[in-house]
Amino acid sequence: MEVSEPVLLILLSLAEQPRHGYAILQDTERMSEGRVRLSTGTLYGALARLLEEKWIERFKEQDHSRGKQAYRLTAAGRRNLQREVTRMKHLTRVAALRAARKET
């Protein structure tokens, strides 16, 4: 599954702790410093894909009601997130080196 920015932000949000939809929206906005505001349609489209790929799973909270369903990362989701973060770290390292080289 290819990782877009909304998907990456959702994975990062769930990496910290299980969350339900509204909490994910707030956390992604906070992480992106207000730059990314997911709409509900976008969020649930991404959650549906992630559930299909088994990168996340539903999490039963104590006060679980159908309208407040929480999600959490699966082991596969955590592995894929780590892989994506490693790839991005490598890219930013290369980008910083090349940008510095261009300036000198």
Partner: protein, 184 residues
């Protein structure tokens, strides 16, 4: 507003609506509650943003159902289409969704008004001009508004691009070595 969202949720496939409908409504009501504190413009923008997300989301789900793509679809950059990377390709401006909704409402109101006026005027007068509003159906109206809105969006982006103020130019002007933000 929630009534509008409930209506737009019906655009989704039934199975999707059954699985996520209640959750989405719960989230929408929480987000709407938070945005109630903003001014009129902020509330209108929020409404258009959420409505646009629902419409595109519904379209995406229907297309996935039709094409059978599971996890590999590249329908839209808003979803899982594309790696996490800066891409200098044309993106449909989200603000245009709000503009399209407003224009559609205005056009539909104008057509209804013209029909009412036409009905009240004796038909001994010949029609003036090439466009006769009573001949337009809802489908033709939607199509005309959609084409116009897409053209307006493309022209607007082209103007911004020509002025070198598009997102592409902002990204190319970024200096990655000019300080780093503190990590969290």
């Amino acid at each position: 507003m929630l009534a509008l969202y409930r209506f737009l949720l019906h655009l989704y496939p039934a199975a999707y609506r059954y699985e996520y409908g209640e959750e989405m409504l719960e989230v929408l009501s929480q987000v709407a509650g938070e945005n109630r504190k903003g001014n009129v413009l902020a509330r209108v923008w929020f409404g258009a943003h959420e409505a646009g997300g629902l419409v595109f989301g519904a379209l995406h789900e229907h297309l996935r159902g039709i094409t059978g793509l599971h996890g590999n679809g590249r329908f839209s950059s808003m979803y899982s289409g594309g790696r996490f990377a800066m891409r200098s390709e044309f993106r449909f401006p989200k603000a245009t969704v709000g503009l399209m909704v407003a224009i559609l409402a205005a056009v539909m109101w104008t057509i209804e008004k013209a029909k009412a006026i036409s009905a009240s005027v004796p038909h001994a007068n010949p029609p003036v001009g090439p466009i006769r509003p009573e001949q337009f159906t809802i489908v033709e109206t939607l199509l005309a508004v959609l084409i116009w809105a897409i053209a307006a969006g493309a022209i607007g982006w082209a103007i911004v691009f020509a002025m070198r103020r598009s997102g592409v130019h902002h990204l190319s002007e970024m200096n990655p070595s000019a300080g780093q933000r503190s990590g969290k």
